[in-house]
């Protein structure tokens, strides 16, 4: 019996390797290698034309002591990640929870509305016209006619407002795959637990949410967290399309844009890699913290 089982295992091993091979090769070459080579290149000075030169910790020293733009970029990235991340995550969950009890048709319609910005992709360019500082700016005209402003606000180019505008648009885009996971997860929860809860003295929606729904949703919540971290630290292209590149006084500059700036424009690839490594480190730290927090809550 044992022998037969082992033979069966051996006969499945080869096909399993075949199944894994295409992904493992692609993943190794185009995802793992870039991450590892970033770490190695971050200790060098490299411009793509001459071979890399060992630079020790120079790039890291420069980043924190000699590059004011990087400091702006990391501050903005943290602001985006720490504001849009948790807010977007919470909104995704709250809305999934709120639409959960609607009839199927209404729920499907609202899902399309909330997920819509992610489908529309490039439509965020319409925000440029909404926030525009000239006569076509929709928001300015509304505020002007309401008597709230006397002169047009240059939302996109004024360093004071640029980051706020980008935050709004990021929030607009924040109900993505995580939101869909929450909607689906809530639909498939165990109803018996809720009836038992009602008998045990759960009195209102919020108690029900806290004591029954959230613990049941732990896997979806973790998935949503991964998706949120991945998108909220990658903010950059949205900012570039809205506020220009570079934005006025680098007001909406982010780490991703800084990597692009020093990497693909100035060809300082060693330095760009170092910036990327710092970003990886921050993302991993936050993921570890979120993972621990969510797991503890579930136990």
């Amino acid at each position: 019996m044992k022998k037969a089982k082992r033979r069966a295992l051996n006969s499945t091993r080869a096909p399993m390797l075949v199944f894994m091979a295409p992904f493992v090769i692609l993943f190794t070459v185009f995802t793992v290698t870039p991450i590892i080579s970033s770490v190695v290149l971050s200790f060098t000075s490299y411009n793509m034309f001459e071979p890399p030169e060992w630079a020790g910790f120079d790039n890291y020293v420069r980043m924190f002591f000699d590059d004011d733009v990087f400091l702006i970029a990391i501050r903005n990235t943290l602001v985006f990640a720490l504001i849009t991340g948790p807010v977007g995550y919470a909104l995704s969950f709250i809305f999934a929870w709120l639409i959960n009890e609607f009839p199927r048709g209404v729920r499907s319609f609202l899902t399309v509305i909330f997920y819509g910005p992610n489908l529309a992709g490039n439509v965020y360019f319409i925000w440029v016209y909404i926030f525009s500082g000239d006569s076509v700016g929709f928001l300015n005209s509304v505020l002007y006619r309401a008597g709230l402003i006397a002169a047009p606000v240059q939302w996109l180019t004024d360093p004071k407002t640029a980051i706020g505008v980008v935050t709004v648009v990021i929030l607009w885009l924040s109900m993505g795959a995580g939101f869909l996971a929450f909607v689906a997860g809530l639909q498939n929860k165990d109803h018996q637990v809720y009836e038992a809860g009602a008998i045990d003295g759960i009195r209102n929606r919020f108690q029900e949410l806290w004591y029954i729904t959230l613990p049941q949703m732990k896997p979806q919540l973790l998935f949503g967290a991964v998706m949120t971290i991945s998108t909220s630290f990658a903010v950059g292209y949205e900012a570039m399309n809205l506020t220009g590149f570079p934005s006025t006084d680098y007001a909406a500059h982010t780490v991703v844009l800084h990597i692009m700036d020093v990497g693909s424009i100035r060809f300082e690839l060693g330095y760009a890699s170092a910036v990327a490594v710092v970003l990886f480190a921050v993302m991993m730290a936050i993921w570890t913290a979120v993972n621990n927090a969510l797991r503890e809550k579930g136990e």
Binding site: F19, F30, P34, F114, L119, Q220, M227, G263, A276
Partner: protein
């Protein structure tokens, strides 16, 4: 359900949903109405949200711009369709194949691979772009369609999603197929894939949307190989006079992803219920 729900609470919820729903929907709607605004309405002050005299002026304008363009618009549309369809098919195939062992074959190595896959979801292409570019350059892939497709194929989101769904396929069915002499390939194509149809439909939607909206401007220099999204930003960057034409391109571009999503929404929901990380 035995729980009481207060009417006041319900009204508040509906108001709240309405407000946020408007915030989500209005920019999309504004794009749609702008596409039908004649030029004088685009310049009208104060700007109106809705269109007074809908016209197809912008569509003809786009058509004229397209005729004057160095590369015909059909070429960009072809590029988008080619990259989206071919890329999506490859992605779903590669991800599903890798997901099967991760879901159904017990081994310590594969458990480790699974966690690497989960962590790698966080490393979006935006973040690894520079070293990825160096590698693609070394492999001679820059300025080819492969430059748009291959980096997406190396992403791990699809593998993760398919694995979670495949966990739900009963082991007993796979065992039975093995005892009947079915090879692993037979089991994968004839048993696993048909049973995970909602999952790969979902993956098709996500991937198609991603490819469809991709700009690829960093990897593609040849004008004739650029995507619709790159052209949209070129048209839109010409300023306000082009706002109408830009809105038309945006409108035409969002139709395919919306259609695909609405048609297959129930499959998506079935899949996402399995997406949790355990």
């Amino acid at each position: 359900m035995t729980l009481s729900r207060s009417t006041g609470g319900t009204v508040t919820i509906i108001l709240f949903l309405g407000l946020v729903g408007a915030f989500m929907a209005l920019p999309v709607l504004y794009t749609v109405v702008t596409a039908f605004k004649p030029l004088h309405e685009i310049f009208y002050w104060p700007p109106r949200f809705f269109v007074r005299e809908p016209s197809l002026e912008n569509f003809t304008m786009l058509f004229e711009i397209a005729q004057e363009m160095w590369v015909p618009l059909e070429r960009y549309i072809f590029n988008n369709i080619f990259v989206s369809v071919f890329g999506t098919a490859l992605y779903v195939f590669v991800a599903s194949m890798a997901a099967y062992p991760l879901a159904k074959y017990k081994s310590k190595t594969l458990d480790a691979v699974y966690w690497v896959v989960v962590l790698a979801i966080m490393f979006r292409p935006e973040v690894t772009r520079i070293p990825q570019y160096v590698i693609m350059n070394a492999l001679g892939m820059v300025n080819t369609y492969a430059a748009m497709i291959v980096p997406v194929l190396s992403g791990s989101f699809g593998v993760f999603l398919m694995r979670q769904f495949m966990l739900g396929v009963p082991d007993s069915m796979i065992e039975a197929a093995r005892i009947d002499g079915g090879s692993e390939y037979y089991i994968f194509f004839r048993l696993i894939m048909p049973m995970t149809r909602p999952a790969w439909l979902t993956l098709i939607i996500f991937t198609f949307t991603q490819f469809w909206n991709m700009s690829g401007a960093e990897y593609i220099y040849d004008e004739g190989m650029k995507s619709l999204s790159a052209v949209l930003s070129q048209i839109a960057s010409a300023g306000i006079a082009r706002a109408g034409a830009g809105a038309v391109v945006a409108l035409l571009m969002m139709i395919p992803p919306y259609l695909v999503f609405v048609i297959s929404q129930s499959s998506v929901m079935e899949t996402m219920a399995h997406s949790g990380i355990k």
